[in-house]
């Protein structure tokens, strides 16, 4: 499965945020979206998640046009972990990840996790190496542990793509490295992972593909083995 963006533009209150963005986001790969602040990275992620609609251009999922789909339909393909996401107060890690199993089409009055669902939650907790913390409150965890809890929540939704928006800000380098390693493993198992970040060293080290956004347009896409800082626009960088 592949996501194709063809000449995608987005204008907000007369200001062009994205202009003619064309790129491919493959599954089974860790794609990093980099660029200076205000380059349009978050907007692009929100278009992919169906929250915003592109002003013009096409957005194809496996060759079929997704621009006309409703937010709910588009969201079936992408799990989004937004920037500055706040854990709900008092939720344990298990409860947070279990919410990832929420299905809006299945809502019996007494919705309880079946054994199968419970096992699935545990498997994603184990996958993100936070199972020992499953009964701890999310807000009590360290930044790195919280991010792994959110990652498990994203994975528990079992969607094809995972969109992560600057989730690593504020983490120390060890936590960032271990998170990138985890993302790389998840991508190698077949999931498409798209991450916006400012950590160019880690991008060079771990990403399968990098897309550089400058002033709302793609200025580079391809392998991370290049001098990434130089690709940033001098005006913004």
């Amino acid at each position: 499965m592949i996501v194709n963006l063809e000449d995608l533009s987005f204008v907000r209150r007369g200001k062009t945020v994205l202009s003619d963005v064309a790129t491919v986001i493959p599954d089974g790969a860790l794609t990093c979206l980099v660029g200076p602040n205000g380059a349009g990275k978050t907007t692009l992620l929100h278009i992919l998640a169906g929250e915003l609609r592109a002003t013009s251009g096409k957005f194809l999922i496996d060759g079929s046009d997704a621009s006309a789909l409703s937010q709910k339909e588009v969201a079936c393909y992408f799990s989004l972990i937004p920037q500055d996401v706040q854990p709900p107060p008092h939720f344990t890690v298990f409860e947070l990840v279990a919410l990832g199993r929420f299905r809006s089409d299945k809502r019996p009055l007494w919705w309880r996790l079946s054994e199968i669902e419970r096992d699935a939650v545990h498997s994603y907790l184990a996958r993100c190496r936070i199972e020992p913390l499953s009964q701890r409150r999310v807000e009590e965890l360290s930044g790195g542990e919280q991010q792994r809890a959110w990652l498990a929540f994203g994975l528990a939704q079992e969607k094809r793509f995972l969109l992560l928006d600057e989730t690593l800000d504020g983490l120390d380098i060890i936590a960032k490295q271990s998170f990138f390693r985890l993302l790389k493993e998840i991508a190698s198992e077949g999931k498409g992972v798209l991450l916006t970040t400012h950590d160019l060293d880690l991008v060079t080290q771990f990403a399968d593909k990098v897309v550089v956004l400058n002033d709302g347009s793609v200025s580079y896409e391809g392998s991370p083995n290049t001098n990434l800082p130089q690709l940033f626009s001098p005006n913004n960088g």
Partner: protein, 324 residues
């Protein structure tokens, strides 16, 4: 689930006890045998009137108002992600209070049914304002609470002004502002029942989605929980329930604010469990508060809102310190 059932079971026992106290105790003494016969509708006429026409409607009014306020607060708190969510604090009850004040002042002349319907409509207008503000991206819980408190204070000022201008008896005004179940008959309670039903029918289908709303609008939308629609329905349901409660009992404070927090302590974070528990829990707290309001100072009585505040304030301080 086991814990949930135990809590429900205990609450039902407490409710049965509360109902028995409500019909058995009072200025007129009735012995156990006459009381039981009257409850089973086999008693003498005077006991029957005492139990079924005087005491039981008041008990049912307290149960109904408590349940309405509990669910209303739970819906507001979960849909706006705001621990201060309460129909009174957020100004939903304020609209209904103005309608009630107009009726007490004799400006608005309509039957009980019409008055409850108008209260619900006024409360829905307050709910609409809150829903509008709550849907704005990035509005903080504190700002939303400030807006709600301001709306509520404004409505309270208008209602008090109407009562003062019309020279409504201070006793009557006090029991309205402090909330009271005194002299409630079936004709006051029965018209509120359908609104309780409507509120619940609106709320039950969105309960599951309210859980997803705890994660923030973006994540909730990504899960398919339609945050705006879900919030609008939840706040509308809250408005219907809050309006009906004010129409029956006036402004009973603290119940809507406190009950969802207590329910959370009892059954955990699942909004569905909290919402269901809020029905018997709100009913029980309000019923016992009313028993205290009418029995402690017999033969006179105090507004029930005074009791809920005296009991609710320390509990709320405990919850705020320990849980929030």
């Amino acid at each position: 689930m086991k814990r949930f059932l135990v809590v429900i079971g205990v609450l039902i026992l407490i409710l049965v006890l509360g109902v028995l106290i409500g019909v058995a105790l009072g200025p007129v003494k009735v012995d156990a045998h006459r009381l039981l016969s009257a409850i089973l509708m086999r008693g003498d006429a005077s006991a029957h009137v005492l139990v079924w026409d005087l005491r039981m409607p008041r008990v049912v009014a307290a149960l109904l108002v408590g349940a309405c306020l509990g669910v209303s607060g739970c819906l507001l708190q979960s849909s706006t992600r705001n621990p201060l969510g309460d129909p009174q604090l957020f100004g939903l009850g304020g609209g209904a209070a103005v309608v009630q004040a107009l009726a007490m002042a004799g400006i608005l002349r309509t039957g009980t049914w019409g008055l409850i319907a108008l209260s619900v409509v006024a409360s829905l207008i307050g709910a609409g304002a809150i829903a509008l503000f709550a849907s704005r991206q990035g509005i903080s819980p504190a700002r939303l609470a400030l807006i709600g408190v301001s709306l509520s204070a404004l409505a309270a000022a208008v209602a008090t002004g109407i009562l003062a201008e019309a020279r409504v008896f201070s006793q009557q005004s006090l029991s309205f502002i402090g909330g009271s179940f005194a002299n409630r008959g079936w004709s006051d309670v029965v018209p509120a029942l359908p609104f309780f039903g409507i509120g619940l029918v609106l709320a039950l289908p969105v309960m599951g989605k309210l859980n997803a709303l705890a994660l923030g609008d973006r994540v909730a939308a990504n899960l398919g929980a339609e945050p705006r629609r879900t919030r609008a329905i939840a706040i509308a349901a809250s408005g219907v329930l809050g309006g009906a409660a004010v129409a029956v009992a006036g402004l009973v404070g603290f119940v809507g604010l406190l009950i969802p927090h207590l329910a959370r302590l009892l059954v955990g974070h699942d909004i569905r469990a909290i919402l269901i528990i809020s029905i018997p829990l709100g009913a029980a707290v309000t019923l016992f508060a009313d028993q205290a309001a009418r029995l402690v100072f017999t033969p006179s009585e105090v507004p029930v809102g005074l009791v809920t505040a005296v009991v609710g304030a320390p509990l709320m301080i405990y919850v705020a310190r320990r849980v929030l």
